[in-house]
């Protein structure tokens, strides 16, 4: 793996959030797929667009196997990221990407379970949020197997996802 690997792997903490497709999002729903879970906000200027573009490129690079990959993007900014806005935003990268939002408390619980931080940096309408930029790799059995730090190329995701799909 090119990502950082957890040993032994544990079941990824599940959650129930409002999906950008209008349904309830749980990880259990994606058993049988590799889930690439990441946290961010749609007004993010640099990190999130880079991550999502990389994941879209990776999914495309996987060819047919890309159908067995689900990207889940959990917002850290529920005030601005409602389901409809997330759907439109994510569709620009890959229409299969799913956004997840919820109450601030529900999202804080999910972040705590994954050790993710999100700190509002400015006041005013155009605030930014400093947030964990790593991507969690969850296998087809729902186990949290690895964490890819920000900055990796699509080829690294293709490599690691193939390993998870083959396992």
């Amino acid at each position: 793996m090119t990502a950082g690997v957890f040993n032994p792997p544990h079941l990824a903490p599940d959650f129930s959030l409002a999906g950008s497709d209008g349904s309830d999002i749980t990880l259990a729903r994606y058993r049988g797929k590799v889930v690439l879970l990441t946290f961010g906000f749609t007004h993010c200027a640099a990190v999130c667009p880079t991550t999502l573009a990389t994941l879209a490129q990776a999914r495309s690079g996987l060819g047919k196997a890309g159908d067995k990959v689900q990207v889940v993007y959990v917002t850290v900014d529920p005030a601005r990221d409602d389901a409809a806005h997330m759907r439109d935003y994510l569709a620009a990268f890959d229409p299969s990407f799913i956004g997840a939002t919820g109450t601030p408390d529900a999202l804080a619980v999910v972040r705590r379970q994954y050790g993710v931080t999100a700190v509002r940096e400015e006041t005013g309408a155009d605030y930014a949020i400093a947030h964990t930029s790593s991507i969690f790799l969850i296998d087809r059995a729902g186990k949290l197997r690895a964490l890819m730090p920000f900055g990796h190329q699509a080829a690294d995701f293709v490599h690691d996802v193939r390993l998870l799909l083959a396992a």
């Binding site: 544990h10 379970q113 931080t117 790593s134 730090p149």
Partner: protein, 149 residues
């Protein structure tokens, strides 16, 4: 008579000096050119059992330094292990009790991770390139010799 006696004494001394210099040069040559080998690529940091309880008791415990230095091809895998009874944010991630997290690096660069275990919230990992034969390799071996940790 006196001159002959001095020459007889100086000759072995000179031979010893030449021999020592040659050995030193050979040693330097080896240190500068011989391939570097390590038993493990892992740079291990471990949270000992009882860390959470000690922190709760007010003890200040720093396990990860604010900056970690790794070298490609040598110690290029950051291995974090949680031997405590509770989950810990350790470096770039949350690690469960009894779990380890192994993060390989393949590109020399400075990496910055958010890490709530540090007062400034940041962990820097500086990854140096593999030392090239010559001066760099010599420097690396010298550092290893003078600072094995």
């Amino acid at each position: 008579m006196r001159t002959v006696s001095t020459n007889l004494l100086e000759r072995p001394r000179r031979l010893i000096a030449i021999g020592t210099s040659l050995l030193l040069l050979a040693g330097l040559g080896w240190a500068a050119l011989a391939p570097l080998a390590v038993a493990s690529h892992d740079q291990l940091f471990e949270i000992p059992r009882g860390t959470y309880a000690r922190r709760m008791a007010g003890e200040k415990i720093e396990i990860l330094p604010p900056t970690i230095r790794l070298t490609i091809g040598l110690n290029d895998v950051l291995l974090l292990r949680n031997k405590d009874e509770v989950p810990h944010i350790f470096g770039p991630t949350l690690i469960m009790p009894g779990q380890s997290f192994s993060l390989p690096f393949v590109t020399a660069a400075t990496y910055s991770f958010q890490c709530t275990a540090h007062a400034n919230g940041q962990l820097s990992v500086i990854v140096d390139p593999n030392p090239a034969p010559g001066w760099q390799r010599l420097q690396w071996r010298w550092r290893k010799l003078t600072n094995p940790a």
